[in-house]
Each structure stands twice: as C-alpha cells, then as structure tokens.
C-alpha cells in the first residue's frame, strides 16, 4: 500500500523517446490503468516503476522513497506479465513460494500465505502441477497468485489478460476488480484494451506517442475527452468524426457537413461561437445516433438522411454502417429497426452529446460545459 509518483519521467532508447515528460500521481489504493495503442510507451513507464528500465530523466517515488537507484527486488512491488512468466521448472506451489523463500520467511508463514492466495484464486487443486500442465487461464491465476502472496506495496500488471480468450478475459476482468476491492492496494495496470480500462480502473491514463494525453476517471475521459485521439480511442464502437464547417446562420450556429446541416444546441452555442466560419471536426458517438422512428420525441427534429452499407445485428443492438454524403458513420440503433442494405434511413442525432475538435493537430476538443 503506497502512493506512486512519476515526476517528469522520460526514457530514451538511443534517439527514440519511449516516454516523454511523464508526470503521474497514483494515489494509495488506486487502480490506475495506463492505456494506449501499442508502442505508446505505457509498458516502458510500468517497467520503470518496476525497476526493469532506468529512467533517462526524472524521479520515481514509491511511498516516500525515491526509488531510481533501487533494484527491482528492493522496491516492494510485484509484477504480473503478459506471458505469465511462470518458472517452468517449479511446481505451482514453489512458483508462489519463491519470492517468500528468497526473503527467508518461516516455512509455516509461506505455507499459510500460499494456501490463502490459492483459496482466493481457486487454484488449491493445482499446487502440485507444473506450469506446462495448466491452461492459459490457470497460468494467469498462478501468476496473479504469485504476486498476491508477496503482499507488496504496489501491484504492476503488464497486459495480463491479452493472451486469454475473450470469454475468460471478461471473467478475469471481474475477478481482478474484486481482488482490488479485497486487497485494498495500489495497482498500476497496463493494457491496450480500452474496455479493460473503462471497466476496471478508478483512474485511467491515456497515452500516445510517448506522451500522456489525458488522466481522469473512466467516465470523465469518455464524456470529456481532451482531443480527437482520446475521443477515438476510448469507447466502442469508435466515435464518428466528420470534417465540417461551423456557420452562423440567422443568428444560430450551425454545423455544415455538406451532406447535411445541423443546428448547434443553444446550451453549447456560446462555447463554439469563436469557431464560427472556421473548419473543425464534428464528433458524435454511435450510441447517440438513433433510428428516427424509435428516437425520443425531442430528438426527432435533428435528423439526417443516410444510406445503409452494412448491418451488424448483435442481438441487443444493431450497428449500422451508413454513408451520408461522402461521410461514413456508424450508428447503434434500436433492435426494432427494420432496414435493408442500400436502403435510405433517417437518423436522429442527439446534439447535446456532440463534440467539436480543432481542425489542426493536436485536435483539441472545444470544451462546451
């Protein structure tokens, strides 16, 4: 249990920056998720906390100690790797007891802690097996168990669920959340999967190109992304982005996307006033687009016409890939929607949920709250 602070951390591999000027505070008992596309530097950041990489600049604190010069073994961290990294020549029991043995714990305590952890994870019956006799999910449990027995100040997870099949991943996701609740300890978790980030974290850190893009609660990041990248990365299916021009027409602000024009809600208009006459990206999430027939009454007036290209019925919802003018959009519509491919459909858009992003990189979002 400890606070972790990264202060102006950078890591260069030769001339390539893997992490640039990273400032991050992980509060005690927080479940922080570093998320981003592969190569964004999230794993490197985690490995620096673990002590497996040395930061080029900056200081890392675990608890109150600056740990830059401490080897991994003295940092009081436990790490779980994507490839499990179980010791193949040791039984599950020995794998879990290894760290405690190194620290010369008495035999009885080792035994007690291993039993306790294996009870939590439901691997009591596997203790005598060798790693190669386990399935992927079981291996992952053992890897987590090996970390738990240590009772470390900080848990580090490096994409631990990436090698599991989809169903098991969902199950393990819930178990890790429960585990965090039970252990009440600091967790830093790296993943490229935005679903894991949204569902498990108490705080998420979105990274791209070695830079932290945004830090916030999952819903905060989802609802108020700082830029186009974060907006597109968090949320599934991905937010629609349409290049447009902001117009002032008869005293009302409008979005002009050539194929359609939409009025900006009065609540948001003051924030967007400065954009009048310039280009921007209009952003709207697929779940804020409705089949007009089934849309709430107050949304029906803001509708656009589009041609259906692909229909993806998922049972609980239907995803439509549509074309409006030259723009492709994805809409998540009601299951009662009755439409066929190449047909035209009227889509109502909830403009209270719209976003506008600057035209030029870094495509910052215009705050409208």
């Amino acid at each position: 249990m400890a606070k972790v602070v990264l202060e102006n951390i950078s890591k260069m591999f030769g001339k390539v920056a893997a992490v640039k000027n990273c400032d991050l505070t992980v509060e005690d008992k927080e479940f922080v998720i570093l998320v981003g596309p592969s190569g964004c530097g999230k794993s490197t950041a985690l490995r620096m906390v673990a002590g497996l990489e040395e930061p080029t600049t900056g200081t890392i604190y675990i608890g109150d100690r600056a740990v830059n010069d401490l080897p991994p073994k003295d940092r009081d961290i436990a790490m779980v790797f994507q490839e499990y990294a179980l010791y193949p020549h040791m039984s599950v029991y020995k794998n879990m007891a290894f760290a405690l043995k190194l620290r010369k714990f008495p035999k009885e305590e080792i035994d007690q802690r291993v039993r306790e952890a294996s009870d939590i994870l439901g691997i009591q019956d596997l203790l005598d097996r060798k790693p190669k006799q386990l399935s992927g999910g079981q291996r992952q449990r053992v890897a987590v168990g090996r970390a738990i027995v240590r009772k470390p100040a900080v848990f580090l997870f490096d994409e631990p669920l990436s090698n599991l099949d989809a169903k098991l991943r969902v199950q393990m996701r819930a178990e890790l959340s429960k585990l965090h609740d039970r252990l009440q300890t600091t967790i830093i978790y790296v993943t490229h999967d935005q679903v894991e980030a949204m569902t498990m974290g108490t705080k998420i850190v979105v990274m791209k190109d070695a830079l932290i893009q945004q830090i916030g609660t999952p819903l905060g990041v989802y609802n108020f992304p700082v830029n186009l990248f974060v907006a597109g990365f968090i949320g599934s299916p991905v937010m629609n982005f349409i290049p447009c021009r902001v117009l002032s027409k008869d005293g009302r602000l409008m979005i002009d996307a050539e194929a359609f024009q939409l009025p900006i809600p009065e609540k948001k208009a003051p924030y967007y006033q400065a954009l009048a006459g310039s280009e921007a990206f209009f952003g709207i999430r697929p779940n804020d687009i409705y089949d007009r027939l089934f849309a709430p009454e107050h949304l029906k007036e803001n509708a656009i016409r589009a041609v259906v290209d692909v229909i993806e019925p998922l049972g609980s919802e239907i995803h439509l890939n549509v074309t409006a003018g030259k723009h492709n959009l994805v809409a998540m519509v009601d299951t009662q929607t009755n439409v066929r491919m190449h047909q035209e459909i009227e889509l109502a858009i909830d403009l209270n949920k719209m976003h506008l992003f600057e035209k030029n990189p870094p495509n910052l979002r215009i705050a409208a709250e």
Partner: protein, 281 residues
C-alpha cells in the same frame, strides 16, 4: 508424413541406406574391438579370417595395464578433461549470459571477437602458447593443458550458451528480479536450471574435445607418465616400426568408451541444445 509409403518403398528409401550407413560407420569400431581381443599370433596368421574371432583373450588389456602407464594416462586425461570442462563451462555461462542479456558498450564487438578467437587454428596458436607455458614454468603439468584447452572451448561454448539463453523469455528473469532475486540469483536459480540441455551439450562438446585432443597434449605434456591417452597410445605403443596392434586397439577401445557412453546418454539434450532457437516452441 501422410502418403503412399509402402513397405517396399520404406525398405528401399529408409532402411537400406540406413543399414549401409550404420555398417560404414561402425565397421572400424567392430574391427578395433575384434583386434583388441585377439592374441598377437592370430593377428598375423593369414589363414584366419581377419574379421572374425578365433581365440578370445584379454592379454592386450593386461599388457596395457601391466606394461604401460595406461592407468596414469587415464587418470591424467580424466582430470584434465573434467577440470577444463568445468572451468570453461563456468566462464562460458557468464560470457554467454552477458552477451545474451546485458546491454553494454562494445557488447557486439566483444561477441564477434570471441567468435573470431574460435577461428584461430590450434596449429597456429600452439607456438605463442608454448612460450607462455614455458614462461609460467608449466611444462609437463596438468595446468599446461587445463589452461590452454579453454582457448578453444570457451568461444564455442559461449556462443552456444548465448544462443540458448536467448531462447529463454526475458520476462521469467525479470519476474525473478521483481520477486527479489539479484541478477546473479536469477541466473543461478532460474536461468541455469532452464538451460540444462544447453549446458549439457556445451559440456559434452568441451569434454569430447579435451578427451581427444592430441596436439597440445603432445607438445605441453608428454614426458614419463604425464601423458594423455591419445599421446600415450601413439608414443608408447608404437616403437619405431613395431606396432603393438593388440594393445593399440585395446587402448583405443578404452579411450573411446567414455565418449560413447556420454553421447548415448545425453544425445537427446545435445541435439536440443544445438538446435535451440531454430524454431519457435
């Protein structure tokens, strides 16, 4: 392979060539063993079939142990081979590990340098080495060979082990270090147990080379009873134009036995070690 392999095809394509090959390889051993168990008179008797045993005798082996220093040679060879192998393996583990895992300036250069050292032929190297041995006053001692053999053993063993270490996922070691190991502990407790096949093949390679080595042994250690089996066999059992065929072959049989024994037990690991990293497992 799935297909139309009929019995006839198998016999013609697999068993026949294999049988020929085995015969071709093992015939010298057969003849060698045969001669070692024959009385000397039988060897020169033309009416006897040279490829068959008429009278069985152990007199050649007795001669070897009673009239020559064979037991001394055996002891010498064993001590030198074992110590050189252990020494070389120890060094090679450290070198191989450093080359496989550590990032330090000049690591590539060092790796290539060590490999190039392996390419220097012993026939060239013995000239400067003999100077060194003379200066250190080591002629005719075990150390003369124990210290010179690693010049050939370490480069090859280092490269072999480096290749093997690279096949072990880095995460396992990193995990060990996060679990509380120093780098050295991680090497000893985690990497070495996992590298057993690689170490066995490197060990067999080193031991075989030491056991059979002739040139250095002849130059650096060849007076009185201080001889290895290859040198002793040739120098004491061939007197001018007199060849003690029976004893020569007995010595050869005894000399090749340990190596044959080693290979037959560890051949599985040997192949595994040499081909490590060739395919993804």
């Amino acid at each position: 392979m799935v297909g139309s392999e009929t019995l006839g095809k198998r016999v013609l394509g697999i068993y026949l060539p294999l049988a020929f090959f085995i015969f071709f390889l093992l015939f010298p051993f057969y003849w060698m063993s045969l001669v070692s168990f024959k009385p000397t008179n039988d060897l020169f008797e033309l009416k006897y079939n040279p490829f068959w045993l008429q009278t069985f005798t152990l007199e050649n082996y007795l001669y070897l142990f009673q009239n020559t220093d064979f037991s001394e040679w055996l002891k010498n060879t064993l001590i030198i081979s074992v110590v050189s192998t252990v020494l070389s393996l120890g060094c090679s583990i450290l070198i191989g590990y450093a080359l496989a895992r550590l990032r330090f300036p000049g690591s590539n250069f060092l790796g290539v340098g060590i490999f190039l050292a392996y390419l220097v032929p012993p026939t060239l190297l013995f000239i400067p080495l003999s100077q060194v041995i003379a200066k250190l006053n080591l002629y005719n001692t075990y150390w003369a060979l124990i210290l010179t053999y690693p010049t050939q053993l370490i480069p090859f063993a280092s490269w072999l082990l480096m290749g093997y270490f690279r096949t072990i996922p880095k995460e396992i070691e990193e995990c060990a270090m996060a679990d509380g190991c120093t780098r050295m502990q991680a090497l000893v407790k985690i990497i070495l147990p996992l590298s057993l096949p690689g170490m066995i093949s490197a060990g067999i390679f080193c031991f075989t080379l030491c056991w059979n080595e002739f040139l250095y042994a002849l130059i650096f250690m060849s007076s009185g009873p201080m001889k290895t089996i290859p040198v002793g066999t040739v120098s004491d059992l061939i007197k001018a134009d007199t060849l003690f065929w029976g004893a020569l072959m007995a010595s050869a049989v005894l000399g090749s036995f340990p190596i044959a024994f080693l290979y037959s037990f560890f051949v599985k690991y040997y192949v595994e070690g040499l081909t490590a990293g060739a395919v993804k497992r």
